[in-house]
Amino acid sequence: MLPPVVTGWLLLIAFGPLGPIGSRLESWFGVTLMFRWTGAALAAAIMALPLMVRAMRLSIEGVDRRLEGAARTLGASPWYSFWSVSLPLALPGILAALVLGFARSIGEFGATITFVSNIPDETRTLPLAIYSALQVPGGEAMVTRLALLSVALSLGALILSEYLVRHTHGGRARHGD
């Protein structure tokens, strides 16, 4: 995986005012991402996506595909058998992946600071706020509060995603084999 700073730099090249995507967004839609919270959201999404896609794929692959075969013999089209059987069975895993992606986004640092800088109330993520507080004399109390908040958030996300995964309906058949 690329260092986050490199991802941020590539975003800067692509979505900057002179970049191939950034200049078009600006001239066609009047949208600027640089130094805006929307740019921070894009950076977070791009950093969290590989992790989320991987977790989602695992949960979809974990569903017993033979259940779709059973659905087909009962009259379901391939699309409907996925929609009515595999997707609901994979749903807790998909939600768990979203929670993990959310936690990853809150902790985003490198790509964000490179692409949209560190602007209070606009692009400052939790670790960026901790980093800024560390630069200020007497900011230790603030650092402690923010650090505790991040520990609580990541622990909460971990517990929630574990809970969701454990409450998957158990795609594997329970009788016989």
Partner: protein
Amino acid sequence: MAIDIDVAKRLGDRTIAARFTAGPGLTALFGPSGAGKTSILNMVAGLLRPDRGHIRIGERTLFGDAIDLPPEARRVGYIFQDGRLFPHRRVRANLLYGHHLADPVDRWMGFDEAVAFLGIGALLDRWPRTLSGGEAQRVAIGRALLRGPELLLMDEPLSSLDAARRGDIMAVIERIRDELKLPILYVSHDRAEVDRLATQVVTIDG
């Protein structure tokens, strides 16, 4: 209504081939484990594509002559060895899954009728994971019947049950054969089961 089957399929380094005609009643496909009996049922259900041959129910061609109906269009009910109920749906929703999808003209059994026939009225609000093996297999049979099939496939439906439950389910299968007069293709490697249930036996050597 005759069921005319002539299929061959290469799977890995072995060839599974079968040619037989099944009449009314229960036709047992009998043979040792690993002879490809389940693969033959999968081909009839449309879950596995034969390399060549044909599958016909009466005048209706399911496979062959450039026809290859998808499983959902075959009107073939399948009872799997492990029940294979949908774990995220209660018994009632499992039973109705295929019933709702079936063309109303194809249905020949109503929901209440199927529930009474199988004696599963007390199970309707239960989750599949709370059912015993025998209960799960009754629900699986009901789910297949409510889809309005012209033919039932059963793949060792008794193999995960204890002796007492086996007798129960065998009695249900006999009633499907004799009262509902639904043709059944039944895979087994158990001589006693086959002797009790089969109208006709086809030996699969592999």
